[in-house]
């Protein structure tokens, strides 16, 4: 697991590796250990408790979930890396479906305009989030939650609470299409994950993101325009939420008024379960991918198991807590207990 970087313009993995004398690949592997173990354990439990879990139809359901959660989780990872958090993704996802349905009314000819409008709205939300965080120093948690509420208000005021209209059939492939038997959303996720991996680990932009998240002051002093880095991350996150909204619109074909009212925390959960730090500058895309896989498997497994709503929430909570707990380092007894133990040994 990587630690916050104190220096700038260094890759995320080089600093801790140099500090501990451990090869960087070993560090990378260690960071993936917890989520990978969790995923493996879950896969085994799923196989035992729901024997048909590995049937083609169930795997497709998992892949669809991966696409849905994954795309927003990638965006969330960018924001988390610059020490932010984006609670407005659920709002943007819902807003997108409302824009598509209301603007097109099911007419494909109106689709380009609606898509541009949805994209514009997403970018605007990203800019507002970034503006609040950067210009007014509003804590990201508060800023993006306020924007989430604002989006709900806009949707209700605009549609009088009753958005109506169909999504053009031309968009169905985004949600229900399959390529080589794999649902389209999963392909979106795969392509974007590879692109994100490249940006974060191979490009200057990636290094600037880690530097900004790790130590913003130091990054600033070294000439990085950190405000631009942070703003880009918020905008990117919102744009990816728009894409998820389009996938959702294509999936069900109707405007789903409920979507814009859900504070979708799965994107944050996936990144954090994978081991992306909430304090910024720590975490890699492989971790988010593992977090996404784990969450998608878990959500599908719980429904397959026929678990009730209470059990589903309970298990989700335990898995997320467990993963975060494991992330915080080796399990050690509290200092007071250790002191007593040492004293006991000495006497």
């Amino acid at each position: 697991m990587t630690e916050p970087t104190g220096t700038v313009e260094v890759s995320s993995e080089s600093t801790p590796a140099a500090a501990t004398g451990m090869p960087s690949w070993q560090h990378r592997a260690r960071a993936l250990l917890a989520p990978a173990t969790g995923l493996l354990a879950l896969l085994v439990i799923a196989a035992i408790t729901t024997p048909h879990f590995y049937s083609a139809s169930v795997i497709q359901l998992v892949l669809f979930q991966i696409g849905l959660i994954g795309v927003t989780a990638l965006g969330q990872t960018f924001v988390l890396l610059v020490a932010g958090i984006d609670l407005s993704v659920g709002g943007v996802t819902g807003l997108t479906t409302v824009i598509i349905a209301v603007q097109t009314g099911g007419d494909a000819a109106a689709l380009p305009g609606a898509l541009l409008l949805a994209l514009g709205a997403g970018i605007l939300v990203g800019l507002v989030n970034a503006g609040l965080v950067l210009l007014r120093d509003v804590p990201p948690f508060v800023a993006t939650f306020a924007v989430f509420v604002l989006i709900q208000g806009v949707v209700i005021a605009w549609t009088k609470g009753a958005p109506s209209g169909n999504v053009p059939g031309e968009m169905a492939w985004m949600g229900t299409g399959k390529l080589l038997g794999v649902p389209t959303p999963a392909w979106f996720f795969l392509a974007l994950a590879v692109a994100t991996w490249w940006v974060l680990s191979r490009s200057t932009a990636g290094r600037r993101i880690y530097a900004t998240g790790g130590n913003r002051r130091a990054a600033q002093l070294s000439g990085i325009r950190t405000w631009m880095v942070i703003a880009s991350c918020y905008v990117l996150c919102a744009v990816l939420a728009v894409l998820t909204g389009l996938v959702n619109a294509g999936y069900v074909g109707y405007v789903d008024a409920q979507l814009s009212r859900t504070l979708d925390l799965n994107s944050i959960a996936a990144a954090v379960v994978g081991g992306v730090g909430l304090a910024g500058g720590r975490g890699r895309i492989e971790q988010t991918v593992l977090g996404v896989l784990l969450l998608a498997v878990m959500l599908t497994w719980l429904i397959q198991l026929g678990a009730g709503a209470g059990a589903q929430m309970l298990v989700s909570g335990i898995v997320i807590l467990g993963a975060v707990w494991l992330q915080s380092g080796p399990v050690r007894p509290p200092r007071a207990l250790r002191a007593i133990f040492v004293k006991g040994q000495a006497s």
Binding site: L61, G161, A162, G165, A257, Q258, R261, Q304
Partner: protein, 394 residues
């Protein structure tokens, strides 16, 4: 049927509010006797007539869906409201406070627009407050409305957590009508006007049992866990299914009244229970997702139930999907207003006014679908064409 859609934060706040109100209730219960209008203990006036009125909604549903229904035991009585008889407190018009859900969906929108339109017809003023589907916000709303000294208060309850505030309003001499939902017996409401959840849940279950000849696997799809609209209906349905030993309820899942979520859940049901014979659902809007999931998988849609939305009726037009639908008409808010006005007039009212409204199956769907109207229209509607147009529902 998505009236009280609570967000995560909303639920949290609601929980805090419920805890707070519960504490207040405990404190209050130990020191004071309840208001006589709370009902339950006094003698039941005109019991037979009231009971017959109550059973009417059950017999209508029974006829329309061609199933046997046994009304759930309820004490329905006439309430003597002579003590509430009053002239307008201000000016020469009554001022009726309406603590509404808010236009968070087409049900909420229709409910309050129907109320306002009816108030205009009756020449009464409306003091309006929207809770945006949140019980905590509603506690505040009721406080605000009460402080304006309305002649009566009509409240669409967002949760039982508002009972304390309702009781406080009654103590200040404001008669309260619970509208499109129920409150605990000790909340002091003079009358409750609603469609009965027990009836909806039971009639869907009986219809399904009949379709399945009393045997087979059934999945239950409810809206939102813990929300009365969802839970009361599901509980009534489970009671019915218990009567049929060969019907097995294999799972109960929640769709959040969202077609997207319902579609994902249904796709899971498909693979997990290939022999599923029927789907009991409380929402036509969620059923949209179910039908899509089955159709995309190339499987026959099992018989299903739900409330009637125009979107669902349009989606299944020309298919051989079998279904039974009923409604929780938002326009019942007009009956709520009428009840409040009767109380102010000293005219006796029923303590529980259970709304009768049409139920139908796929055989009659073509009579109900409104092609020219929005997907969001709840079927059937009694709103005027002008109002439907104004609300962009038609």
């Amino acid at each position: 049927m998505n009236r009280t859609r609570l967000t995560t934060t909303g639920r949290l706040r609601a929980a805090v509010a419920v805890a707070g109100v519960a504490t207040l209730l405990l404190a209050g219960c130990s020191t004071e006797k309840e208001d006589p209008s709370a009902g339950g203990s006094g003698e039941c006036l005109n019991a037979d007539e009231a009971q017959a009125e109550y059973e009417k909604a059950w017999s209508t549903a029974s006829e329309q869906l061609d199933v046997d229904l046994e009304p759930v035991a309820e004490d329905v009585c006439e309430v003597d409201t002579s003590d509430w008889k009053a002239d307008p407190k201000q000016g020469d018009k009554y001022r009726i406070a309406f603590a509404a859900q808010g236009p968070t969906n087409s049900w909420g929108l229709t409910s309050e627009e129907a109320f306002k339109a009816h108030a205009k017809e009756k020449d009464v003023d409306v003091l309006y407050a929207s809770a945006n589907g949140d019980a905590t916000a509603q506690v505040d709303n009721i406080q605000q409305l009460t402080s304006q000294q309305p002649d009566a208060l009509v409240v669409v309850p967002m949760g039982e957590g508002i009972a304390g505030q309702v009781r406080a309003a009654v103590k200040q001499g404001i008669p309260v009508v619970a509208c499109s939902g129920v409150l605990p017996d000790d909340s002091g409401v003079v009358s409750t006007v609603t469609r009965q959840y027990d009836l909806l849940g039971a009639m869907y279950a009986e219809w399904l049992a009949k379709q399945l000849d009393g045997k087979g696997q059934v999945a239950m799809l409810s809206g939102l866990a813990g929300v009365p609209t969802a839970e009361y209906q599901a509980a009534a349905a489970k009671k019915v299914f218990k009567k049929y030993p060969d019907i097995k309820v294999v799972t109960q899942q929640y769709t959040e009244w969202s077609p997207s979520v319902a579609k994902t859940v249904a796709a899971n049901l498909l693979s997990k229970y290939p022999k599923l014979a029927g789907i009991w659902s409380d929402s036509g809007y969620g059923d949209l997702g179910v039908v899509q999931a089955y159709t995309e998988a190339g499987k026959d849609v099992p018989p299903l139930t739900g409330d009637a939305s125009n979107a669902f009726l349009k989606a299944v037009k020309g298919t051989d999907v079998r279904f039974a639908l009923s409604s929780f008409p938002p326009e019942m808010s007009t009956t709520c207003l009428d009840t409040a006005l009767k109380i102010l007039d000293g005219e006796s009212v029923l303590n529980k006014v259970y709304i009768d409204s049409p139920s139908f199956t796929d055989a009659k769907a073509s009579e109900y679908v409104r092609e020219e109207c929005s997907d969001n229209l709840l079927i059937p509607t009694s709103l005027s064409d002008a109002l439907l147009k104004k609300l962009k529902l038609c």
